[in-house]
């Protein structure tokens, strides 16, 4: 546990910045997600000591701020009628993708938020179930059960779609 330097911050940014952006995009528009992730890194720098698990710490901060900001944004949108939201892509489209990136995004968007969050943390955040349980404050068995449920839902939706490039 040592004081954080700007060099370390840059390294962590390179390592986790993209994952955190994807995670924050679940709740917030792109620009807001950027601000949230940046603020999380600045908040990390201001810590007297480096957290034990920096990655989990960053995800937790992004989660808390995202949820809080999404709530206030929702209230504002309700007050001023819904405005058309610019579509932001979550994944890069690559020729060798087994699943179409846009299709995956649309399926993920249909998942309940708590399930989607677990999938995001597990697959793209590369978190263990224990880390996910610490971030979401749920039990490990519950996380595991919900994760399996989410995978099942994704599988069914993919099967119903004809856009799958290759049979899984």
């Amino acid at each position: 546990m040592t004081k954080i330097t700007q060099k370390q911050l840059a390294e962590w940014y390179e390592a986790y910045g993209t994952q955190l952006m994807l995670y924050a995009r679940q709740w917030n528009p792109d620009e807001q997600a950027e601000d949230i992730v940046q603020d999380a890194f600045i908040k990390l720098l201001k810590q007297r000591r480096s957290p034990d698990n920096v990655r989990a710490w960053l995800f937790r901060v992004v989660r808390n701020v995202s949820i809080s900001k999404a709530r206030s944004l929702q209230r504002r949108e309700q007050a001023a009628q819904k405005l058309p939201v610019k579509e932001v892509y979550w994944f890069e489209s690559q020729s060798n993708d087994l699943i179409d990136a846009r299709l995956a995004q649309s399926i993920l968007k249909t998942l309940p938020l708590n399930l989607r969050e677990i999938v995001m943390l597990r697959i793209w955040g590369q978190m263990s179930l224990k880390e996910i349980s610490e971030i979401t404050k749920k039990s490990i068995p519950w996380i595991h059960k919900e994760y399996k449920k989410a995978l099942e839902m994704i599988k069914k939706k993919l099967e119903h779609s004809s856009c799958t490039k290759k049979k899984i």
Partner: protein, 144 residues
Amino acid sequence: MYKEENLTSAEKALESALGQLKPLANTMNRDVLMFNAGRASASRKHPWQILSGALTILLLCSILIHPETNGVQSLSSSPAQIESVIAQLQHQPVQTDSSDLLGYTILRDNILTNGLEALQLQSGIRDPEPIMNRKQLLESMLSL
């Protein structure tokens, strides 16, 4: 410890297929982040700065704010209060002690005729011993 590998092969295949999707590259500018980080660390307040700031404020407060001394009335009175006091004084009969008044008149006359010595005599203060000049002082010492 909970078994994390407790997934079916189909689930694992799906997991890995999803995992191949690459999140969209970060649109955030790294330089902007580092600039903000530098600014944040420069503006970071140290405990001694906070402490000295608080002490300065306390010092200023102690200089500017004085508690009212007991028994001393505030000079700031409203015009209504002043008027009521004046009216009260005007209606009060003037109480004078005739002996005091007589004594004062005598003293005044004495001062006008005899000067300040009259005041000293009146108040019972004795005349100080006359100051001797150098010759007198020498004579008095020789006589001893």
